[in-house]
């Protein structure tokens, strides 16, 4: 886990209650040369998002306490956090119904075990590689001074 530093504000945040998944994602996304933060549940995730500003959130859905749905809801409260790019990384089957429930595009919901880590890294890189402000909700861009 990397220390957050105001000078290099952007990092990837991994939210999952399973330590194995966190470690795998840390190893794979660590190769992108961007600091990686880990959160064990929704509460830790929101703490991290409030104190710093991640460039990408890998979010598990089912977690004890504050779960992924609750995190998504909390992010939508302010336009600032609503603009953060989120990849939902879940063990449940990805269906159009799930995408509708979460209000997340189906392309941003990935099922654990069903895609290779190389592909996952490419998807993450695709999101990070865009101009920084491109968000999943297509709301107003975030300027880096905001964070």
């Amino acid at each position: 886990m990397s220390e957050w530093d105001s000078a290099t504000a952007d990092h990837i945040l991994i939210v999952d209650d399973d330590p194995d998944t966190r470690e795998i994602l840390d190893l794979v996304l660590g190769t992108l040369e961007i600091p990686v933060h880990q959160a064990r549940d929704g509460r830790e995730a929101l703490n991290d998002i409030l104190t710093s500003r991640p460039r990408l959130i890998m979010l598990d859905l089912s977690m004890p306490g504050l779960d992924g749905r609750a995190v998504l809801d909390a992010l939508r409260v302010s336009a600032d956090t609503a603009a953060l790019p989120v990849i939902v990384f879940t063990a449940s089957p990805v269906t159009p119904e799930l995408a509708e429930q979460l209000h997340v595009p189906p392309s941003r919901i990935l099922r654990k075990g069903n895609l290779s880590m190389t592909r996952l890294r490419d998807i993450a890189l695709g999101i990070l590689g865009r101009p920084f402000a491109q968000s999943m909700f297509d709301t107003q861009p975030i300027r880096s001074e905001d964070s």
Partner: protein
């Protein structure tokens, strides 16, 4: 064609009117007889409803018979001169009170009041009529009413009293009824009462048995529902619990294969690749088993919504091309231009069917090509066709390959990896979508799987589509 259509629509509309009338009458009946909400217990409610229902008929009938018809047909008829008519009018008032009681929580007092009213009217009639004999017979009616509206013990008492009352000398012999007539009346009321009580007792026993059985059934159904809910939950949990460690195994082997855990010696890399391939196979097996058990339990929902066949074909191509390329097979995809741009169906399930068929084709084909095509067959049907130039299926096996855990023979299972569930899932899913699976195959030169589906065009594009044709 149009003639038949119009006839059928006329008879249909007549049927609709009849159904509507029956429906309305049923609602009026409900409104007239529905017991008060404070009355609980199915037997109590049934009695209250029966009492109200009887009175709804008896009150107007009595009125019509004793007042309206004589007024209309007998020129000399004067309403208040005939004491029997007056008695019936009093009885009508009392019965209206019974009806009102039947709709309250005091419905149980309605039945004795009704019986007393009817008995009183009969007794009054006996005293005033020229020939009392037919009226005496009506005393048997009391037992019948009691058997319908009251518990068995009360019915026995009412039966006894009715029968005994036939013998009451002051009531019955004002005009000097002959002894033989009296014996006849007594026998008639006695037999009627005994038969009614016996029938009522049998009916009560039957009702009791039916009630016990239906309670037991309801309990069994509740238990079965609970059990199936628990089973669903168990399946869902098991899926999650099995997948979590397996995902970790797959994830970590991928991390190793990506070189993120240091460089692997060639042999270690091969071993890791085998671990990875087998873990993925296990994951697929778990998914397939869960799928087939969900389908068999009738818990797979088909979500019909508009989809684009071109997009479906594209998805399949993206998923299958790497597999085909790995086996040096060429992949051909064909989209019939006669297919509508948009159709209605469950794209996710269609994708599952196509992926199963196509990866099967790749698995059983050593050289040559795999063709995946979406075709329009006629006005009503379209089909997905997956053909290969593989080993083919002998005729005797062409039926059994759709069964669970069946491959052509035991040896193929070892040679060709797979869960043996793919085709069973394809068939079950196709049936759920009103589809039909067929296979044509020549041993040694290839197989063709055709799944036909009903062609449904989304409402909004339908008019455009018919115009195009």
């Amino acid at each position: 064609m149009s003639a038949t259509a119009s006839t059928s629509s006329v008879s249909q509309s007549q049927g609709n009117v009849a159904r509507l009338v029956v429906d309305r009458l049923g609602r009026v009946w409900e409104w007239l007889t529905e017991p008060n909400a404070v009355v609980v217990g199915s037997e109590q409610r049934r009695r209250a409803r029966l009492l109200a229902g009887m009175l709804v008929f008896i009150i107007p009938l009595g009125f019509i018979g004793v007042v309206i018809i004589p007024l209309a047909t007998v020129p000399t008829f004067q309403l208040f001169n005939d004491p029997f008519v007056l008695a019936v009018i009093v009885a009508e008032v009392l019965m209206t009170a019974c009806y009102i009681l039947s709709r309250t929580r005091y419905h149980a007092t309605g039945a004795p009041l009704l019986i007393l009213t009817i008995s009183g009217t009969i007794f009054f009639g006996i005293r005033t009529a020229q020939d009392p004999l037919p009226l005496i017979m009506y005393l048997g009616l009391n037992t019948l009413l009691a058997s319908l509206l009251m518990p068995l013990r009360t019915t026995v008492i009412v039966g006894f009293l009715s029968t005994a009352s036939v013998l009451l000398p002051p009531l019955l012999r004002p005009q000097g009824l002959s002894v033989s007539s009296e014996t006849n009346a007594f026998t008639f009321v006695l037999i009627t009462s005994i038969l009614t009580i016996a029938a009522s007792d049998m009916r009560n026993r039957d009702l009791h048995r039916i009630e016990t059985q239906s309670n037991e059934l309801a309990a069994a159904v509740r238990q079965a529902q609970l059990a199936s809910k628990l089973k669903d939950q168990f399946l869902a949990n098991m899926s999650h619990e099995l997948r979590t460690p397996l995902n970790a195994i797959i994830g970590f082997t991928e991390v190793m294969l990506m070189g993120l855990a240091g460089d692997l010696p060639a042999q270690a890399k091969r071993a890791t690749e085998r671990i990875h391939a087998n873990s993925e196979r296990l994951l697929k097996l778990i998914d397939d088993i869960l799928d087939i058990s969900k389908i068999e339990a009738g818990r797979v929902d088909i979500h019909k919504r508009p989809f684009e066949p071109a997009e479906l074909l594209n998805t399949i191509e993206t998923s299958i091309r790497p597999q085909a390329a790995k086996n040096e097979l060429s992949l051909i995809t064909e989209l019939d231009p006669a297919l509508p741009r948009e159709m209605v169906g469950d794209a996710k399930r269609l994708e599952q069917i196509l992926l199963n068929l196509a990866s099967n084709a790749v698995k059983f084909t050593e050289r040559g090509s795999i063709t995946v095509s979406l075709k329009r067959l006629n006005e009503q049907e379209w089909a997905v066709v997956v053909s290969d130039t593989g080993i083919g299926i002998p005729p005797h096996a062409q039926e059994t390959i759709f069964e669970k855990f069946r491959q052509v023979d035991g040896s193929t299972r070892r040679a060709y990896s797979g869960t043996g569930l793919g085709l069973a899932i394809v068939r079950e899913l196709a049936l759920l979508m009103d589809g039909n699976v067929k296979v044509k195959s020549t041993l040694g030169s290839g197989s063709t799987f055709t799944v036909t589906f009903p062609l449904i065009v989304p409402e909004k594009t339908k008019s455009v589509w018919t115009n195009l044709n």
